[in-house]
C-alpha cells in the first residue's frame, strides 16, 4: 500500500513531501515519545503522532520512515513543514484521533512492528 492510497482512503491532508507519496508503506508505529519511535519504528513505516515540531522530521529521516501522520488537528509548525519539504518527508494531517487513524490503517492491512 502506498502513502498516496493511505492519504486518499483516510482523507488525510497532504502538507509536505507530496512528491514522495509513491512510497510503499512497510508497516506502522504510533507514539508521541521520540525515543520509543527511535527504538521501535522500522524503515518504511508510517508514524502516527501528536508531535508537530521540526524534530519529528529528523527522526523520520534517520529511520527512513515513509511518512508522518499528525493527528487530532494539531497544526505542524512552519519550520516542520519546511524541513519536511527539504528532506522529502511526507507530512499528513487529520482531525481524527491517533486511535481512529491506527484502526483504519489496520483495516487497510498496515501492520505494527511486533
Amino acid at each position: 500500500m502506498t502513502l498516496k492510497e493511505i492519504a486518499h482512503r483516510l482523507s488525510l491532508q497532504i502538507r509536505a513531501g507530496e512528491t514522495e507519496l509513491g512510497r510503499e508503506v512497510t508497516g506502522g508505529y504510533a507514539s508521541d515519545l521520540l525515543s520509543c519511535v527511535m527504538a521501535r519504528a522500522r524503515r518504511g513505516n508510517i508514524w502516527v503522532t501528536l508531535q508537530a515540531h521540526p524534530n519529528i522530521v529528523a527522526v523520520a529521516v534517520l529511520l527512513e520512515l515513509a511518512g508522518i501522520i499528525i493527528t487530532e488537528g494539531v497544526e505542524p509548525e512552519p519550520a516542520t513543514l519546511q524541513r519536511a519539504q527539504v528532506e522529502h518527508i511526507p507530512i499528513l494531517t487529520t482531525v481524527r484521533t491517533t486511535f481512529t487513524v491506527v484502526s483504519e490503517l489496520a483495516q487497510l492491512g498496515v501492520k505494527g512492528v511486533d
Binding site: 520509543c36 527511535m38 527504538a39
Partner: protein, 307 residues
C-alpha cells in the same frame, strides 16, 4: 509510469528550470537567413539543416523570425519566390541568455512558439532555444547531478584504500547548541549521510544514526552550554563521543534505568526526555562508556565494531 513517480520527476524539473540558465542549454550555432532570401531558399535551408524555423538577420541585427508555418503558408498560395521579409514575423520575442530556463518556458507557453532567439544584454543574437533544447538540457543536467552523487560515493567509499597509513581515520565534529530543538537531529543526519557515502552497510548506518541522535538530543536537553559530537570513523570501528561541560550526572546507575528522566515537563511535552535515550544507545552500540562529574561535565563514548 504512476502518477506519483511522474509528480516526483516534475518537481525535480521544476527545481532545475529555476536553476539552469538559458545559455547553459541553448543552441549556440544559429542558422539564420536574410530578409532578401526567397521562400524557396528558406525551404532548402530548413530541409537541409533539419530545423523548423530561423531568425532573420540584417547586417548582424535581428529583424524577424520565420518558421515552417510561414513557409507552408507561402507555398500554399504558390509564392515560392516571395521574400522572407514579406512572410516573417517582425515583432520578435527574444530572451536573455542569463535568464532562467523558466522564463523561456513561460514565454514559449504564453505565445505558443516553438523557438526563441537568445540575445545578450547588448541585444546581440547569441543562440536559439527550442522546446527540444529545453528537454535535452534538463535530461542532461539530471544525468550530471546523478553522476556527481555517484562520484562522491565512489570517492568516499575508497578513502580508506586510497590513503595509506598505519591507522587511517576520519574525524567528524559537530557543535550542538543547548535547548535548540529546532536543529536537533542535524548532526546525526549528517553522520548518517557521511556513513552512507562511505559505503557502510544500512543496518550499521541505522544503529549509528539512532545512537548519535540520542546522544545529540541529550546534549540539547541537558548540557548547560550544549556540547560536541565527535565521530571517529576507522576501518575497524566507529567511535561516537558526546562531550559537554556540565551540569554532570550525579548518579550514572540511576541515569541508565529505563524511564528515569530529569527532563522538565515542557521538554517531555515535546516527546523528549522519556528516559530511554541511553538505553537506546546501549541497544544500538557494541559498547557504551559513560563518565561524568557534577559541575565538570559528561563524556559519553559509543563504540561500533566493524569487523
Amino acid at each position: 509510469m504512476t502518477a506519483e513517480t511522474k509528480s516526483a520527476e516534475i518537481t525535480k524539473i521544476q527545481e532545475l528550470i529555476y536553476e539552469l540558465k538559458i545559455e547553459q542549454i541553448m543552441t549556440r550555432e544559429v542558422v539564420t537567413v536574410a530578409p532578401e532570401n526567397t521562400i524557396a531558399e528558406l525551404k532548402t535551408i530548413l530541409k537541409t539543416r533539419r530545423i523548423s524555423g530561423t531568425p532573420v538577420l540584417q547586417d548582424g541585427k535581428l529583424v524577424g523570425i520565420v518558421s515552417i508555418e510561414d513557409l507552408i503558408g507561402a507555398l500554399e498560395v504558390g509564392e515560392k519566390d516571395a521574400l522572407v521579409r514579406d512572410r516573417m514575423t517582425r515583432n520578435v520575442q527574444t530572451i536573455y541568455a542569463d535568464e532562467s530556463v523558466v522564463q523561456a518556458v513561460n514565454k514559449l507557453t504564453q505565445y505558443g512558439f516553438g523557438r526563441l532567439p537568445v540575445v545578450d544584454r547588448q541585444g546581440r543574437l547569441v543562440g536559439i532555444l527550442t522546446r527540444g533544447d529545453i528537454v535535452r538540457g534538463l535530461l542532461k543536467q539530471m544525468e550530471v547531478e546523478y553522476h556527481e552523487e555517484e562520484i562522491h560515493r565512489y570517492r568516499a567509499s575508497h578513502i580508506f584504500e586510497d590513503i595509506v597509513s598505519d591507522q587511517t581515520g576520519l574525524v567528524l565534529r559537530y557543535r550542538v547548541k543547548a535547548k535548540d530543538f529546532t536543529h536537533g537531529g542535524e548532526a546525526s543526519s549528517k553522520v548518517k549521510r557521511a556513513l552512507e557515502r562511505l559505503g557502510a552497510q544500512p543496518p550499521l548506518v541505522r544503529r549509528v544514526a539512532i545512537a548519535t541522535y540520542e546522544a545529540e538530543t541529550n546534549l540539547i536537553i541537558h548540557a548547560d552550554n550544549g556540547g560536541e559530537i565527535i565521530v571517529e570513523i576507522m576501518p575497524e570501528q566507529i567511535r561516537v563521543i558526546a562531550l559537554d561541560n556540565g551540569p554532570g550526572i550525579p548518579d550514572i546507575e540511576q541515569a541508565l534505568q529505563p524511564g528515569f528522566s530529569t527532563a522538565p515537563d515542557w521538554i517531555r511535552e515535546l516527546g523528549f526526555g522519556a528516559g530511554m535515550g541511553l538505553n537506546n544507545i546501549q541497544a544500538c552500540a557494541d559498547k557504551m562508556n559513560l563518565s561524568s562529574k557534577v559541575g565538570v561535565g559528561t563524556r559519553l563514548e559509543i563504540l561500533f565494531h566493524l569487523k
